[in-house]
């Protein structure tokens, strides 16, 4: 900016403070409610300041929602999605950008098509796919009537419900990360690959010692974004876990929300909400710079 205008500057700070308050308002009230007892919460008028039962409520929330176990699940799923997606995408992006082979364009388009349809658009069939991953094979077997040849009934069943695999794999099935890495690879100087070829290095060597180190900042940024994405997943854990001990923290939280047939324990629910949002918030606050860089780069 060019000139100093006190008026506008103060107004800007005012706006930002207002914005900050708006952002924090729900979190503040979650803290207020999460630190009172049920009867205090139900009182009219409702409490405006925090109470003193925060830690007791936290213990109750942890207990009631089995959060210990669920946090472990969420962590495994989030890390699994981040690591899985990044690993798979790095390999695919490398293949599509650095190799000339017969099926290159076909592979490229197959991957590209998957960008067009977000998972939410094919909810039910994806559920079926997870319920029996071997279903396509079963169709093949039925179509070819292999059972009759072998004289036995062939029932192929690979059920991924209530498993980490089921929670992680369907979410790796989109090519956003592949395209990000591909784009990045396209900006890598040609000389590096040329030098590798001249030296007689194998492609994998090149990938491991040259490309990967260059991609670290992208990997970290994407890792953060994917970790958050995985931790905050809702629809898929909802559908794929019928066993309460395999649910993620976010789903466990949903079960704590007061419904009409239970006691309105909003204090426990809000407390649990704070607990569940804590790990992602810590990640965002600590790794802000990487995150912002990652988001903005992804949009380019």
């Amino acid at each position: 900016m060019v000139e100093r205008t006190r008026g506008i500057d103060i107004a800007c700070h005012g706006i930002l403070i207002l914005g900050g308050l708006l952002v924090c308002l729900p979190i503040y009230f979650a803290f207020v409610v999460g630190s009172h007892t049920v009867s205090e919460v139900l009182a009219i008028p409702p409490p405006w300041l925090p109470g003193n039962t925060f830690f007791a409520n936290a213990a109750a929330a942890w207990e009631k929602g089995n959060l210990g176990r669920l946090f472990v699940n969420s962590f495994i799923v989030a890390v699994g999605i981040a690591a899985g997606k990044i690993a798979v995408s790095l390999l695919s992006a490398f293949a599509v950008a650095y190799f000339r082979f017969r099926w290159r364009m076909l592979a490229f388009w197959l991957i590209f098509v998957s960008l067009m349809l977000p998972v939410e658009v094919r909810i039910l069939p994806t559920y079926e796919a997870v319920a029996n991953v071997a279903l396509p094979l079963q169709w093949l077997v039925d179509a070819l009537d292999i059972g009759r040849w072998l004289g036995i009934e062939v029932a192929l069943d690979w059920n991924m419900m209530n498993s980490y695999g089921g929670l992680i794999l369907p979410l790796i099935a989109s090519a956003t990360a592949t395209f990000l890495f591909r784009q990045f690879f396209l900006t890598v100087p040609e000389e590096l690959a040329e030098a590798a070829r001249i030296d007689g290095a194998s492609p994998l060597r090149f990938f491991w010692s040259v490309l990967l180190p260059l991609s670290v900042s992208n990997i970290v940024a994407l890792g953060i974004i994917l970790f958050l994405y995985g931790w905050n997943q809702y629809l898929w854990p909802l559908l794929f876990t019928t066993d309460k001990t395999m649910a993620t923290a976010v789903i466990g939280l949903k079960d704590l929300i007061p419904r009409s047939d239970t006691e309105p324990a909003w204090n426990i629910a809000m407390n649990a909400a704070l607990l569940v949002m804590l790990p992602p918030v810590v990640v965002v606050v600590a790794l802000q710079r990487w995150l912002v860089k990652g988001l903005v780069d992804a949009g380019k």
């Binding site: 029996n132 009409s260 047939d261």
Partner: protein
Amino acid sequence: MNLTKRSLFTGMLAAGIAAGGVVPAFAQQRVEIQFWHAMSGVLGERVDEIVKRFNDSQTKYAVVATNKGNYDEVINATIAAYRAKKAPQIVQIYERGFMAMLLSGAIVPVQDLMTEKKKQVDFSDFIKPVASYYQYKGKLMSMPFNSSTPILFYNKEQFEKAGFSGPADTWAEFEKQLYAIKSKGAAECGSSLAGDYFWSLMENYSTVNDQPWGTKSNGYDGLDTEFVYNKTRLVQQVTRLQKWVNDGIIQIAGQGLSPQQLFTSGKCATYFASTAAHGGIEREPSIKWSATYLPHEADLTARNSSIGGATLWVMKGHKSEEYDGVAAFLEFLAKPDLQVWWHEVTGYVPISNTAYQMAKSAGYYKDHPTREIAILQLNRGTPTPNSQGFHFGNYTQATFALREEMESVFANKKTPQQGLDDAVRRGNELLRQFEKLNAGKY
């Protein structure tokens, strides 16, 4: 040496069996029966008690009871499991799911199973409304387990404060009472709207007042049935309810608020709910409450109300010995003393006449008069084609549509007639689909 070894072995075996800690390899493993149900909380504990009693009473079978969530979740889990060829042996399905289960091709009719396994269950002993709901071609398709009917709970003190001894018999008089209670300040609101009001205040309004819900005797006589409740006195009832909501006589509990609590905390003077709510209400002694029959229209005779709740269905695709176990468990459940116990601890109605008489002669209803209202209401008068039950396909979806339309009515976005018309239109579409898919099967 041989002799010593053998005697040593026998000695150890005997010791092991005596200690109870060793199960000899040749002993029978119990046949496992999976039982999926929707009873949570205290009800769930009662179910666990029943299962334990059965398991302890014999050594051949072991029933494993799992609470799969609410009724919707149980039927969805059953469908998913069935498709994956991993269905349980016994499932508890709500009354709404009757047609879906009947024509699914996935069940074994209970009466057939019990006859085949030569179990002593007197199927003619089940109380009429229960039997008539779950029968098809004269045979009972599923085993009655937890049946209820809606009754009217009321706050005695608040009625007295407004100058009434109790709720009136007719809707017109009852309305006057509720308005008086509110205007005199005896209570903040006249009635708390239960989550299943479409059952207690609409479906049962129709059965009690002999109003058809659909053609063909509410679907009993054919799949080509059509909903007609937008052309009956139900329109009057919905208009009445809408007025009550607008005037603040009815309170709709929002998210996180329990309608039952609105009643037990003294906020609302009445609560139309299942007789099974007895258990929960009895545990809140802060108000002086009682219960009575549902009101009826002044110019119509009061008929019987219809049942709600669920029954136990037996799924196909299991081994013969498992079915033996299923039959044994169902026979156990049908025993009158177990039924009396279940009735007393939960508030569900006693499902057989014998059980009812047992409870009566033991003086139970003298000490708990409100417990008898449900069964008296169910047995009141002669059933008509409109009061025997509801046999509609895709009924869960149709009920959802009705509830959505009622939400619009209560928000004054649609008139009662419009709302019911739309609900009927949507419901009929679902019925036609069901008819098309199941042509010739009913």
